[in-house]
Structure formats: C-alpha cells, structure tokens
Symmetry: C2
Subunit: 341 residues, 2 copies
Amino acid sequence: MNINPLRGVHVHAFALAALLVLGAHAQAQTDPLPSWNDSAAKSAIVEFVQAITTQGSPKFVPQAERIATFDQDGTLWVEHPMYSQVMYILESVPALVKAKPELAKGEPFKTVMSGNREAIAKLPEGDLIKVAGATLTGMPVETFQAAVANWIAEVRDPRWKKPYTDLTYLPMQEVLKYLRANGYKTYIVTGGGQDFVRVYSEATYGITPEQVVGSAGGTKFGYAKDGRPFLTKEPRLLLNDDKAGKPQGIHLMIGRRPVASFGNSDGDRQMLEYTKAGDGARLAMIVMHDDAKREYAYGPAKGLPATKVGAFTQAFYNEAMKNGFIVISMKDDWKRIFAFE
Amino acid sequence: MNINPLRGVHVHAFALAALLVLGAHAQAQTDPLPSWNDSAAKSAIVEFVQAITTQGSPKFVPQAERIATFDQDGTLWVEHPMYSQVMYILESVPALVKAKPELAKGEPFKTVMSGNREAIAKLPEGDLIKVAGATLTGMPVETFQAAVANWIAEVRDPRWKKPYTDLTYLPMQEVLKYLRANGYKTYIVTGGGQDFVRVYSEATYGITPEQVVGSAGGTKFGYAKDGRPFLTKEPRLLLNDDKAGKPQGIHLMIGRRPVASFGNSDGDRQMLEYTKAGDGARLAMIVMHDDAKREYAYGPAKGLPATKVGAFTQAFYNEAMKNGFIVISMKDDWKRIFAFE
C-alpha cells in the first residue's frame, strides 16, 4: 500500500505542469506584434528578444540586465507639428499672466499672449526657455503634477481631436509590452521634462515614474506653515536629457548600459551609440517618419523635408546604416499606427 | 464515456492549487524577521506591511506605490569608525600618487601618504573633498567600477577582519526581503557615492543599480580612438544626497514619495519627514547604535557619546519622538546583528 499522501499529487502536478508548458508554448505562437507588417524590422525585434531570453544561447542576458530605453517624442507618440510639452508651456501662459499681470507688458509673454502662431514660432530659443522656466518651476511638485494631469485630460490635438495620450504608436506599445513580458525593464529616456512625462507615463505606457528619465531640474526642500515638508521646483537644470545628455542620464538614473534602445532623431544618436557599443547582443532602432498620409513625413533621410522638430539628418541616417542601427519605416513596417484607427 | 481529455486535469489542477494555497499559508505563518526580538519595533514593521498589502484595508497601497527607502551607512551596514567609502578614498591615494608623483609633495596627499591616522582624521573637510575628487573622478565609469569591485573583494575591516559587505545587519536584510516579498521596491538612499554603492548593491542587498540613489556627479560623453563611446566621471556634483538632498534625490530618481523609510542619523531626518508627511499609512524608523558590545554605541540620544560619523543628535531624537518615528534599539530589538555570528 502506498502511504505517501503526496505521491498522487506529484503525478497531478506533473500533468498540470505539462499543461502549463503547452499553454506557454501556445502563447508563444501568438504574434506579439500584430500591428507590425512581417518585415525585417519586426524580425529583428523578435529574433533579438528570443536570443537574449534563451538560456544557453551565447546571447543570453540575465533578467536584471535587460534594460530597454525609448525616446518619447516621435518614437512613442506624435511630436508633430509641436512637442506636446511645448503646447503645455504656451497654454500655461494665460494663467501665469493672470496671476502676474505685469508679465504681459514685456516679451516674450506679450507675443505668447497675442496668440499669433507665426510670431510665437519665431521666438528665439532663449525666450522659450524663459517661458518654460516661468511655467514649469516655482511651484510645489504636487501643484505642477496636478496642473499637468488636468491639462492632459482636457486638451485635444489639432489634427485628430484626441487627447495627446491617445496619439501613442500602437506598434511601439506592443514592443513595450512584448519586452516587459520577456523580463525587460522599459524606460523612457526623453529630452522632455521628467516631471511632466512622469504624470501620465504609467497610465499611457505602463511605465512607472521611476522608469522615466528626462530633462530634470533641481528642487528645494522646505516646510509649510503647518510644518509639513514639501519640494518646490527650481529653475536649476540638473540634466539636459538630449544628445550626449541621454547616455549621461541613463548612467545617472539607471546605472546600466541598455541592451536595446529606440529613437527617431539626432537627439537619440548618442543613446543608440552607447547601447550598441556594449558587449553581447544589442538592438538599436530608429523610427522614420515617412508616412505623410497616416501620420507625417519629415526628416531629410530618403529625401524627406527637414523640420524644426525631430531633426533626422542625412548624416545621422548614414551613420545609422554604418553602425547597424535598424530603421523602422512607419509607412512600410506598421500595419496600424494608432489604437483608435 | 468522458471524452474530454482536460476534465481529469482540471481536478488535478484544483488539487495542486489547493496544495499551493496551503503552502503559501504555511509560509505566511513563518516568521519573516527571525533575527528580531518580539518587540514594539518588530510589531510596527509587521503590522505596517500587513495593513498596506491587505485588499480592502483603509491603509491598502497599490503595488506600484510601495516604495521603501533605506539609508546605507549605519542603517544597513556598519559605518564606524569610518565610512567604507572614505576608506576607499584614502586607500586609493597610493596608486594615484604612483601615477602622479608630484601630488605627494603637497597637501593633503602628503598627510594621507604619511599613514598617520590622527593627522588624517584632522584634515579639514575641503581637503577630504579634494582627495575624493582625485580618486573618484577623471576616469571612465567602467574603470572606476572595476577598481571598487576589486577593493571590495580584497579589503577587510579592522575589527571583524571581514569584507565590508559581510558587515550588513542581518535584521535589516530580513526587512529588505520581507518588504520585497510583499511587493515593495526597496531603494538605497545614501549620502555615499551612487556609483560606488551600485557596484556591490545587487550582490550584497539584492538591490539593483537603478534602485540606488546616492550622491552623484556628472559624466562626460566622448569617443575612444576606435570610435567606441564612453563616459568619464567628472568632479561636478549633481546631487549631494544628504539631509535635504535625500528627498530631492528621491524626487529626482524615483519620482514618488516613499511609504516607508529607514535611517539612523540627522542626515536622514528630511527623508523620514518627507515619507511621514504623505497621506495614508507611513513608516519611519531609526536605527540607534546602542550596542557597544556587539557593534558600537554612539550618538547623544539616551546619553550616548557623540561622534563625527552618523550624528544622531538629541534634537533629532526629540523630533523623532514628536513625529512618531520609531526607534530601533540594536541592543534590545536585534537578536542577532550579523549573519556570520
């Protein structure tokens, strides 16, 4: 007589384990990137993920080191015709002027308040920084977060009449999920404001605030009248998270070199180079905006017109080809661009 | 005849699931903090974790918001008689002087090279910063990381003759594991160098580099002769992660207010206040060094002598009592201090 009460359970457990393995296998057969056409770009992603996660593969990477970094504007969501944070800055001016009416008498606030888009577009960069400083700093962190959350919920983009958070690229959302399902930590590494992006990153991309690296200013610690401590945003730049600032920001905030990076412009070049220069398997990809019909076409690569935002120069394109960066053509590689389509 | 091949499996799966639930329950009954005496401090931790993780509890906190921050020196490991990073800095001077012999002619390097501990201890802070700058910056990030890893592996502390990484407090290691098992992200928030601590944090505490916030300097991005990009450590301080710098560093690197914080000195005061000032359940705890026999006794609270490191002033102790910070007595609350005991 078998008196081991667990003996039967072991058999059952084995049967269940077999079923689970079969289930996992069945799931692996499901296309993780359904919004992608079956192109070289899609294959590159799938092959990279499989190589890195296969135990015993020469390209295997332990889970803790599976860091993937994504530029935001133009890589994860629409950046054209204007970065959404720039819209936020400009649209925050009326409330600022209401609180401090004397500002409206001088530049650049006078021009911004005029609503003259052409004149606003011509403001020199120094003036934009002045407006940014006045609208992004000087208030408690929580006040800023609430204002951004409010704006994000209310504002609609001029072309699709959707919240900006609906203008994320479905194929890239699939890449984020696919990588996370394979043990990757997915980070946003953006030239945009870290505090700005962190407000909506979790709901929009499933990326928690601590996995958002962006341009960041200092804060000041102080106490309210009731003794409660709080932080005030200061106009003191700690990290300009663009170009060389991207690998610097990655080192500061993550401390590991990514194994995969995704960008779309010259501002991402150093991040892609830094990623690609590590040992072992690496993936560096660039989203090219070549779909004038479904999104926008800009950047001089393949003869597209240059624009002020998201500069993707011919020199960058040439270097990308030389370094083995993989170009994603929105037109050819993406079956669907937005979830609302 | 039953032709559904899955029918039997479902029954087996249910049996296994029941077994797993029983197993989980049995595990929950196991003491998660065996190196702690059954005191108020231990109960405070267990009750806090249970309240925050119980669905439907008014104190429930969603998993993504379960952030816990830990000071390192004096909270997670021994800081007496000298911070280990200060030892690293001083012990790195001979190699530095060998490479640049002219340094040995001037101060403070002349005094450091003399080996006269009393004279070294009397060096003004500005001199120590000079030595720190010379030993912690100016080299590629990877060169620094390799040097620290090498030092950590080789050096032994003067009292226990153990690697510094063996001098972590077993009760705190248990707290780290207990919190992580309950969905917390555990961060180190240290006045020590972020790049220094990140070298050993994963092997020592199970804390990955991206969950180490510390004093941080800038880096410079450049290219080697072969075109490979690399980062050089620069003597430009971005974050002095001590006192008010701790909540500032938490905002910069994590972006969320912690629900639990652990410290041991005045340098942790603002972090504890910031944690405690959030809404909902909060836990703020202070390790008090009152065990001269098994570790050290220092700090003026309860009449202990003040020291240069880890200043735990009477004013801080009074404020802690007022704010509901919970003091952990090493002598009374910890059954065991080190794993090697």
